[in-house]
Symmetry: C2
Subunit: 745 residues, 2 copies
């Protein structure tokens, strides 16, 4: 590691905008307990502190954290989950390395578990109802950690109980198109059991699509072609490689929405109004059960019927056929059906978030929130404990500086360990519901590090455009793990890049869906958010995700053998996330570059112009106002950037900086419209709501056009297209107004 | 006028909180064009400037303004309305007394006018269809101003065209209960024409209620008992008194919602999406037409049928009977029916708001908005020109100080002259839709002065609780018109008072409905708002409103003879509004007292406990969480008040003050929940949404209980009661969080 040299080089090259150099840095209050009395002195990011933090983030301590965190399964609301709550509180209340304060925030949330008495089962039964073969979805005890009372057996959380039985069909990924294809082949889906594979469609969507076509029950397996680069033999998989063993099964939530299912938009306090469990929306309409590829092979390779299309074929040792039912001469008689027995139970459980607080010295009412979930499906060494291990190491290093009186950030920092994420981002969502006003008024940015290391090839960043700048700044100053001598940024650009019309070739920042706890922050609150991790070399694997994801094989041993043996990737993520956190909380000017939204807007606009404008014109809808709105946004963003540059050249007054920072902070809020997508729970961000339409443009416009296509001139659907266009235009104009000079009323 | 003495006394006694005295005041930037370069010096409200402004607000200039404004009818979008736009621009761009800048913001909005070719008519027709009597709703030309091409004939804006004909019934105020009463009397309402009187139910509601009972058309008149204290003879009314002449007819909007009817939640730009006019919601479902009491008397005093109940009787010269149809031996034959011919047209018209801006010296990104509408029904000397005359005088005085370089406020001031208010607050609503983000982020308070002088007895203030403090502070330092020698505050308390558990007997501040342009600010944006005016001695008149309201008799002569001959009440309102404006824009600490919300919450809570708790308990809904939430709010508000007091004792840093002021500014936002009342367009404020339930508690709770009453245990309606309770609890907890110390994360 060549830390000093990297910093020396980095400052010259980075997008730090010369902040530290121009403004210098001022005395830092020495007493940790004593609030800063004078707040007028411009205090900026202290490069010495940053360097100290980078040096102190320690790989072996992250490994120690992980050892403790992944020692036992810690399913949401389990005793071990509660024990980890206490561990976090203890760490954050430590006299030497703790924070200013720590507390829990508890909710009573609706979770779903398999019945402890009646295991879920998949059976092959004859016409007489006699069971001919029985499959228990349970993982083989390969390393001694796959068995025990705390290992929850594989299940589809929130799938309803039931025992559907029918002929088996193979339905590929279980998309709407997949089921349509089966119907087009003349296959009667009514009352069938559909075997689907993970990927492409979301978990719950498979069951929703299936039910729409009359299917009675859904099985979901992980194809070795999608997860193991085709390998499927025991000695080709864990513990002999990072591959998923034949008995591995991916657990997961099959609920369509995120947040507690029965308290939408309300914090799930014991006294809160709850929807009736029976008619709460978003649960799978039919029973569903995940199974291993070992079991799937038995079923799939014995199907009769037409050969499945090439794109439906996987890596199991046979040609995939569509069914319905089993073939003659196979393992099962032709008249055999498949029976799926699901005995899942809905239960109200307490789940806690743990919060650790560092009060800001100068602007305590500006919050930088850094979070990850705590709950796992089983041991969860990768998901989420690799992230929690990093979280604890960052908070230890900052807490130590704080307790020593060496440092206190300009703004407040909130560390969060969310509960019940695996059931649908429940802890974080309830938290944003409870503290909606305060968080929306004051949060500068949200940093999420869930799985910190998927693999050890390169950094991966996802986020809204304004955070690109601060991630790049951090990544340019940290050396990447391994012998390359490259910075994390330079290593990153080799793996994941794009050509930007503004910057040339740069690392490509992904967009934020609803895959982790950033979702309520960006979609519901409109807070600039990001997710950071180390990840794969995509030239070496096409695995959909790391192979033991959501299985009982996601253990410390797995991490230490196959994911990140020296924890250097964990350390790299800790450094990037720590640097981003410090920059957001300590920089005089917020390091959010709002003009980076222009690229997104331009690309959305161009897609609309290329792929929609002719169609829109037929319906007398002009994209002209959208073009104008994008231009206004760009001009306003550029103007604000210029004013910040000008201010940086002088010695700006703290109030002037505050005003500019408020504009930067509030930009993302201006993209919210809680009335834009009433049917999409929580999604209010008009740029990042889910896009189902095929055109890569503004989601409301794309989706409305997709629905209106083939409807008549003057249809309600075309009216909705126009409405969605007006909503986006109004949001962009509002965003431009937020960025324009504040006295330009 | 004893200004100096009043100030001397006032400062000692007022709720100024000793701001000026403790902090003193600092040098004010002298160059009007030069922005303040240093913003660190605490600048507070300058009492000398305040005194100067109070002295310079001139009654005779207000009269001159009114003379010009009320010279001709200036119906929304008429040429004279456009001419007044130019007048405002010219005043606000004046080199000597203008503001920093002025501009127009134009919308294309859907208005409704009577047909220029076919006048609306009310006819009495025989069974053969022959017209036996015809009434043209048109006012008598009493003073020479009631006739002319610019006088719009009386009509019900947005009532649909149609020529319904049927037997006449008398339906009192046209409430739901009124129509039910008629049905209970065995009167078949199907196909009837209902004659109703203004008051109690809203204009549009009369038609909605009527249509629900099968009524085919609605007439609305102003009963002399409701408006003239019973007087109805020509020589008892204008121009001989302030009474409404027999031919006077109240015009008005009959649209149920406010804002442009076809662009809800979107600014009405030419390119914006518009609802289909034909199925836009909120228009009266049946034709409606307002008529004079002269015409109403002819119809009503000839009705047959049972005698109307005592509370339905009015001051026309007969006993009111219910109908249906006319009595034997009266003016019309028994078989006569009434035919209402409405030929109103919907038209898209341009309507402008005019904005006048004073840039803030220290916090230009904090806005105080002061507005009134410009459009009138006819000459509109009282409504709205008495307010516009005051607006122009305040802006002249402040503009003069600004141009001289004597003064520039700490925060920015936006003066607004709204268009098309009479058609349903259209200009202001479209403005809040267009600038939603910017206004919500930055607006400190909204001051509305629509009709500035209803009558000259006392000040009247309406607003959300935090503004009580600043209105009182202003009112305590200004002498009231007339010889009493009392301050406006002391005069006010004699007329309109209440006993406050906190303060003892104080003037009573009314709540804000949707009567003027404050509505979108408070209900849609969540901005602390107020409406100020001078008004009646209620011991002297029971008039529903000033008698010539929305008629062609609302003229300068009317004001000069009967409303405020010496314009001293206009001056008094100018001073109060001007003082409030200066305090909001110049005070170091915002003069919003958030703890004054506690009284409202306590009174809502007590009403719920007294009138609903037993019922709620039957449905297992506890008010406990609401009690706790109110307590939390109170503790947080008290705590913030204490911290402000403590800060005022020292020399607080501008950033510290900014943080506290942000809490004060944003409190009202925390009460917004755009998902609370999806069916109530724009209403998001959970404390001030319309309350239809009879219990004077939180509106969502009151309305839900009212609907749930008499439904079964476990009904959807009772679920909604619980949901509404949880919504209020969450809002109060969120508001408490906004007020708690900002580093108490």
């Amino acid at each position: 590691m060549q830390w000093v040299k990297v910093v020396g080089l980095g400052v010259g090259a980075a997008a730090l905008l010369g902040l530290g150099i121009i403004l210098g840095h001022f005395a830092i209050p020495k007493g940790a307990e004593q609030p800063a009395s004078s707040t007028s002195d411009p205090q900026d990011l202290d490069l010495e502190i940053l360097k100290t933090v980078m040096e102190q983030l320690d790989a072996s301590r992250i490994q120690e954290n992980l050892r403790e965190l992944a020692r036992q399964p810690h399913l949401a609301s389990s005793p071990r989950d509660e024990a980890l709550v206490q561990l976090l509180l203890q760490r954050w209340r430590d006299q030497v390395s703790g924070l200013d304060s720590a507390r829990t925030v508890e909710y009573e949330v609706l979770l779903s578990f398999p019945s402890p008495e009646r295991p879920n089962l998949v059976e092959v039964v004859g016409p007489d109802g006699a069971v001919r073969h029985s499959y228990l979805p349970k993982e083989e005890n390969v390393t001694g950690e796959q068995e025990g009372p705390d290992v929850v057996q594989p299940y589809a959380a929130y799938a309803p109980p039931g025992t559907p039985q029918g002929f088996l069909v193979y339905a590929n990924h279980g998309t709407e198109d997949d089921f349509k294809y089966l119907q087009d082949q003349g296959i009667n889906l009514q009352g069938t059991i559909a075997l689907t594979r993970y990927g492409v469609a979301g978990r719950g969507a498979k069951a929703v699509n299936a039910a729409r076509h009359g299917v009675a029950g859904v099985l979901v397996y992980t194809d070795p072609g999608d997860i193991n680069d085709g390998r499927s033999l025991p000695n080709e998989t864990f513990p002999y490689s990072w591959g998923l063993p034949p008995s591995g099964v991916e657990r997961g939530s099959y609920h369509e929405y995120f947040g507690d299912p029965v308290t939408p938009y309300l914090p799930a306090h014991p006294s809160s109004f709850r929807l009736n469990w029976d008619n709460a929306s978003g649960f799978p309409p039919i029973p569903a059960q995940p199974i291993s590829f070992q079991h799937a092979e038995d079923l799939l390779c014995n199907l009769q019927g037409p050969r499945a299309p090439e794109s439906w074929q996987g890596a199991l040792s046979c040609e995939y056929q569509l069914g319905p039912g089993f073939k003659q001469g196979g393992k099962f008689t032709e008249d055999s059906q498949v029976k799926v027995s699901v005995h899942n139970l809905l239960v109200l459980r307490n789940s806690s978030n743990v919060l650790g607080i560092i009060r800001g010295a100068v602007e305590p009412d500006r919050y930088v929130v850094y979070g990850n979930h705590r709950d796992s499906w089983v041991h969860g060494a990768v998901d989420p404990s690799s992230g929690t291990a990093v979280l604890l190491e960052i908070s230890r290093v900052l807490g130590t500086l704080l307790k020593k009186g060496t440092w206190r950030p300009r703004r407040s920092i909130m560390f969060a360990s969310w509960g019940a994420e695996e059931f649908g981002l429940i802890g974080s969502t309830e938290f944003t519901e409870e503290f909606f006003s305060k968080l929306q008024e004051r949060t500068v940015a949200y940093i999420n590090v869930d799985i910190s290391v998927f693999a050890n090839a390169t950094l991966r960043g996802q986020g809204t455009p304004p955070v690109q700048n601060v991630i790049f700044s951090a990544a340019k100053e940290i050396s990447s793990p391994g012998p390359s001598g490259l910075t994390i940024y330079d290593n990153w650009i080799r793996y994941i890049n794009r050509s930007s019309p503004v910057y040339g070739v740069i690392p490509s920042i992904g967009t934020l869906g609803a895959g982790s706890d950033y979702a309520p922050f960006v979609h519901f609150l409109g807070i600039s958010s990001m997710d950071l991790a180390y990840t794969y070399d995509r030239s070496k694997t096409s695995a959909r995700i790391y192979p033991t994801y959501h299985t009982a094989f996601d253990t410390l041993e797995y991490v230490e053998k196959f994911v990140d043996p020296d924890f250097s990737s964990h350390q790299a993520v800790a450094r990037v996330a720590g640097s981003v956190l410090l920059r957001l909380s300590d920089s005089f000017f917020l390091p959010l570059k709002v003009s980076d939204y222009s690229e997104t807007l331009q690309s959305f606009l161009q897609a609309a112009q290329q792929d929609l404008s002719a169609l829109l014109e037929q319906h007398s809808i002009s994209l002209g106002p959208l073009v104008t709105a994008v231009e206004k946004f760009e001009a306003a963003a550029t103007g604000l950037g210029q004013r910040i540059s000008d201010l940086q050249k002088g010695s700006p007054d703290p109030l002037q900086v505050r005003m500019v920072n408020d504009q930067l902070m509030l930009l993302e809020r201006a993209f919210l419209n809680p009335r834009a997508f009433p049917e999409e729970r929580y999604y209010s961000h008009v740029l990042w709501a889910p896009r189902t339409g095929s055109v890569a443009t503004f989601p409301g416009l794309a989706n409305a056009c997709s629905r209106a296509n083939n409807t008549n001139l003057g249809s309600e659907e075309w009216a909705e297209v126009h409405r969605q266009l007006s909503i986006v235009v109004a949001a962009l104009e509002g965003a431009a107004d937020t960025l324009r000079p504040v006295d330009d009323l």
